[in-house]
């Protein structure tokens, strides 16, 4: 039995120590927001935070985690940077199929937590490990800048209710 700290909660799991965190999250704990894309840390769909650092959970054996604090996309909105990133993602309308976006959001949030005003090359460095097959990269870049500066970048979308005015 291992005990993992996931999104602030201790979870006891009966799994082998070499099992990657990704599968413990998805298949054992049932947190499916963290995605499987490649299994070899090439695509970033499985990105989670371990003690505040963005890591690829598909190659991270759970036996190495000890008491580290794991944060997944399900809880990232509770952090100020995660909330800013999610809001910008909606306003710039980054999402297409959406499968990679939870990993993108985890990488972008970690970037903002460590570099509140990232440059384009900071974005390249932090985000180039995350593949988006739909090709939403132009808007990912815009959304990160928007989250950092609070200034609208690119085409903003209209919120559901027209009476409420444009999305914030």
């Amino acid at each position: 039995m291992l005990t993992l700290n996931v999104n602030g909660e201790d979870r006891s799991v009966d799994v082998p120590e070499d099992m990657p965190l990704l599968w413990v999250l998805r298949d054992v704990i049932g947190l499916t927001g963290t995605k499987f894309g490649c299994g070899i840390a090439q695509c970033g769909a499985c990105t989670v935070h371990v003690d505040g650092r963005a890591v690829r959970s598909c190659v991270l054996p759970v036996g190495q985690l000890g008491e580290a604090k794991i944060t997944t996309v399900e809880a990232i909105g509770a952090t100020p940077e995660g909330k800013k990133i999610q809001d910008a993602w909606l306003a710039v309308e980054v999402v297409q199929c959406g499968y990679c976006q939870t990993g993108q959001i985890m990488s972008a949030t970690a970037l903002l937590q460590h570099k509140p005003q990232p440059t384009d090359s900071d974005i390249d460095a932090a985000m180039s490990g995350n593949i988006c097959r739909c090709g939403t990269y132009v808007r990912i870049r815009q959304a990160i800048h928007q989250a950092a500066t609070g200034q609208p970048v690119g085409q903003q979308t209209i919120a559901y209710n027209l009476q409420k005015g444009p999305a914030q």
Binding site: P16, M19, P20, W23, R26, D27, V28, G30, L31, T32, G33, K35, F36, G37, C38, G39, I40, Q42, C43, T72, V73, E74, I76, Q86, W89, L90, E93, V94, V95, Q96, C97, G98, Y99, C100, Q101, T102, D124, M127, S128, N130, I131, C132, R133, C134, G135, T136, Y137, V138, R139, I140, R141, Q155, Q156, T157, I158, A159, Y160, N161, L162, A167
Partner: protein, 735 residues
């Protein structure tokens, strides 16, 4: 905003098909031979569906209104990133007069008769047809429901229906001050007759259509709550990891599973004709178990198949094979300078980000499937065949697709999961590894095209000849699509009709099949993605041979064609065409009219002394006729270009000894954010017929950068992917 799993029960599909007058047999038989599918008005099966669904007011298969809760909209097409749930919800909500914040969308059950896309005559999402096919039907469906709600209110209040208005889900009568919500009127509305005729809004009164609306699926896709097929969890489910013969068509000879059975968690080892599946409580146990198997394969008849051999055969067939003619018209005997070229297109994998998967539970009396798929009725039919169950005992729950791109227009992965699930009593979630996904794709096939032109004294083409050689997808996928002589229009889509003013055309196809065990499939942009690389590359060659500017050259040949001309001019103006550029930087233009839209893309590239291609900037101008959601149009062009550029720069599946060499994203590369330039999209407004959008950007992408590479280096690359080794600067020495 979105209910992840459709709560809709399924009526008897067979019963519906019977009432539909043999609809299933009419699949793809051609225009007019099948009944229209999704419909604005009640259809046979609607009432049964609504009753089982507990819907109080269900004026058609698309709209459900209950006394409590949001308006439910059932989506006839599937959402795989193209934004169709938002667009289709906008169209229904616009005429129904509700806000997008008052609706939830649901995945449709698998029923051709109720949810088939009219242009494709089946419940299929593909070919950039969804909105083109459905937009007027969806508007009318919303308007019919609104009229029935109004007449219910008018009857209750004893006022003329014509005096009632609607706003945001409420019917109002100004003179009496009465008002009622749609929910309050649902029961009475259900008793109203559907109107014979219904008026649609004047587009100038649109509140949603034409505005950059926020996607209805985004909120659930940024916090992890959206459920894709791979995220489904049902009680007692086990995960299956599957290994099949690396050689296409090879069979399982023998397997020793002693070691695999000792892997903790491994539950069952399941033998299949082409491989073995291992089940366990989680992916890791199943994968470790599979890795411990000792398997012997019978590699079968394709053990010698190779891509190199295929291209040799295509070259030979294109010289000597019998051609089927797409068109041959105009004065084809004019003499003059002739220019010829050969273009080559590789085999491609789809590689959607969500690896293929399916959850299947086969019970003695039914088969239940949870999956994301572009052809749910085809998939359910396949499962019925494999299980021997009647079609109405196969229940398919569709989900969000983590990318489709044509891969999920197939049912093969669902069939494989059914074959595994048949052998165990519990539900099985089969998840493919990325390696399996790349190596066992139903890939886009290779093509070899010979194109030639006779040009006049100024260098403009007076005869255009194009002979493409390759295999047909519909021959397996929907043979009804083929012409009587076997001609497949996909092979010449967009090459048989150029917008350019050219007096004579001869366009033909020489069929050359792939081995039977290597089925080939649709890939984003289908025929146009293949053909436009060649047509726009070759137009560029003609411009160069004529000593003319590539934009000017096209402009002159589009002079009589205002819609194409306007997108060409817009893109050229936006990028500042004609500006002086640094050495080894070049701009390439490409124009075409795929899927009923018109698009011009201009790319600016820089080629390093070593031959590395960097895209510095992309500009596109698009005219798709009436624009539903400009936000989606921009997104589809931006993303479509990245998808097509990824193909042009990196993608090639190579078979050696019958097996695919590539396996994952390290050797089947994707463009990444650091390689993606700023991309500007300009929408050229036009009232003309509505065009498709999901594949337009992809289809135009490759020739824009190939032409830019020529402008930067003087090297014309006619083979994809573009080979950097051919672009090294000879003046840069050993660089």
């Amino acid at each position: 905003m979105t209910l992840p799993i459709s709560a809709l029960p399924q009526p008897s599909r067979r019963a519906l098909l019977q009432t539909g007058g043999g609809f299933a047999l009419a699949f793809f038989l051609g225009a007019g031979s099948a009944k229209a599918t999704i419909a604005a008005r009640p259809q046979p099966g609607d009432a049964e569906l609504a009753a089982k669904d507990g819907a109080t007011f269900a004026p058609n298969s698309l709209i459900r209104i209950n006394p409590e809760g949001p308006v439910r909209l059932v989506m006839p097409n599937v959402e795989m990133g193209q934004g169709v749930y938002t667009t289709e919800a906008m169209l229904l909500a616009e005429e129904l007069d509700v806000g997008l914040d008052q609706v939830v969308v649901e995945h449709a059950p698998a029923i051709d008769l109720l949810y088939g896309t009219p242009l494709l005559k089946s419940q299929t999402t593909g070919g950039s047809t969804s909105v083109r096919s459905n937009w007027m039907i969806l508007r009318e469906a919303g308007a019919v429901a609104r009229a029935m709600l109004i007449s219910a209110a008018a009857e209750q209040w004893g006022v003329p229906a014509g005096e009632c208005t609607t706003e945001a889900g409420v019917v109002k009568h100004a003179a009496s001050g009465k008002s009622a919500t749609y929910g309050e009127l649902a029961e009475a509305a259900a008793k109203q007759q559907a109107p014979e005729k219904v008026g649609l809004k004047d587009p100038k009164d649109f509140k949603l259509v034409g505005k950059p609306m926020r996607r209805i699926d985004s909120p659930s896709k940024i916090d992890g709550s959206a459920i894709f097929g791979i995220d489904v969890r049902v009680p007692d489910m086990q995960i299956a990891y599957v290994v099949t013969c690396p050689t296409a068509g090879g069979m399982l000879k023998s397997v020793k599973d002693d070691a695999a059975r000792k892997v903790p968690g491994v539950k069952d080892i399941i033998r299949l004709p082409h491989g073995v599946a291992v089940t366990g409580p989680h992916y890791w146990a199943a994968k470790k178990g599979a890795e411990a198997l000792e398997i012997e394969w019978d590699h079968g008849p394709n053990a010698n198949f190779s891509t190199a051999g295929l291209f040799k055969a295509l070259d030979e067939a294109s010289r000597t094979g019998k051609a089927l003619v797409a068109r041959s018209d105009g004065p084809l005997d004019r003499q003059g300078k002739t220019i010829e070229a050969v273009y080559e297109h590789p085999i491609l994998a789809h590689a959607p980000m969500e690896p293929l998967n399916a959850v299947v539970h086969v019970r003695p009396d039914a088969c239940e499937i949870w999956v994301g798929n572009q052809v749910p009725t085809r998939a359910a039919g396949a499962a019925a065949k494999l299980t021997g169950l009647p079609e109405d005992k196969v229940i398919l729950h569709n989900h969000y697709l983590g990318g489709g791109f044509g891969r999920r227009l197939e049912a093969d992965y669902i069939e494989l999961a059914v074959n595994i699930a048949k052998q165990v009593p519990y539900p099985v979630k089969m998840v493919w590894s990325r390696e399996h996904d790349i190596r066992h794709d139903i890939p886009r096939t290779a093509y070899l095209d010979r194109v030639s032109a006779v040009v006049d004294d100024e260098g403009y083409p007076v005869i255009w000849k194009d002979r493409t050689c390759g295999a047909s997808v519909p021959k397996r996928w929907a043979p009804q699509m083929l012409r009587k002589d076997g001609f497949d229009a996909d092979l010449t889509e967009c090459s048989d009709e150029l917008s350019y003013d050219i007096p004579a055309f001869h366009v033909e196809w020489v069929p050359h099949d792939m081995p039977e065990a290597i089925p080939i499939g649709w890939w984003r942009g289908v025929g146009p993605t293949h053909n436009i690389f060649k047509t726009e590359g070759f137009i560029d060659e003609l411009a160069h041979a004529a000593g003319k500017d590539p934009v000017e050259f096209r402009r002159k040949m589009l002079a009589k064609n205002p819609r194409p001309l306007s997108v060409l001019n817009k893109a050229a103006e936006a990028i500042g065409w004609g500006e002086k550029l640094p050495p080894r930087v070049g701009r390439g233009v490409a124009f075409a009219s795929p899927f009923g839209s018109h698009i011009c893309a201009i790319a600016e590239v820089e080629v390093s002394p070593g031959g590395h291609i960097r895209i510095r900037r992309g500009v596109a101008a698009v005219d798709c006729g009436p624009v539903m959601n400009p936000n989606t149009v921009e997104a589809q062009i931006q993303g479509g270009l990245v998808f097509g550029w990824t193909m042009a720069l990196y993608n090639e599946i190579i078979f050696e000894n019958g097996a695919v060499k590539q396996s994952n994203f390290h050797d089947y590369r994707m463009m990444r954010i650091n390689e993606t330039p700023p991309i500007e999209v300009h929408i050229v407004k036009n009232e003309g017929p509505i065009g498709g959008m999901g594949e337009v950007g992809t289809a135009i992408a490759a020739p824009a950068i190939a032409n830019a590479v020529f402008a930067a280096t003087g090297v014309r690359l006619r083979k994809l992917p573009l080979d950097p080794k051919l672009l090294a600067d000879p003046k840069a020495g050993a660089a």
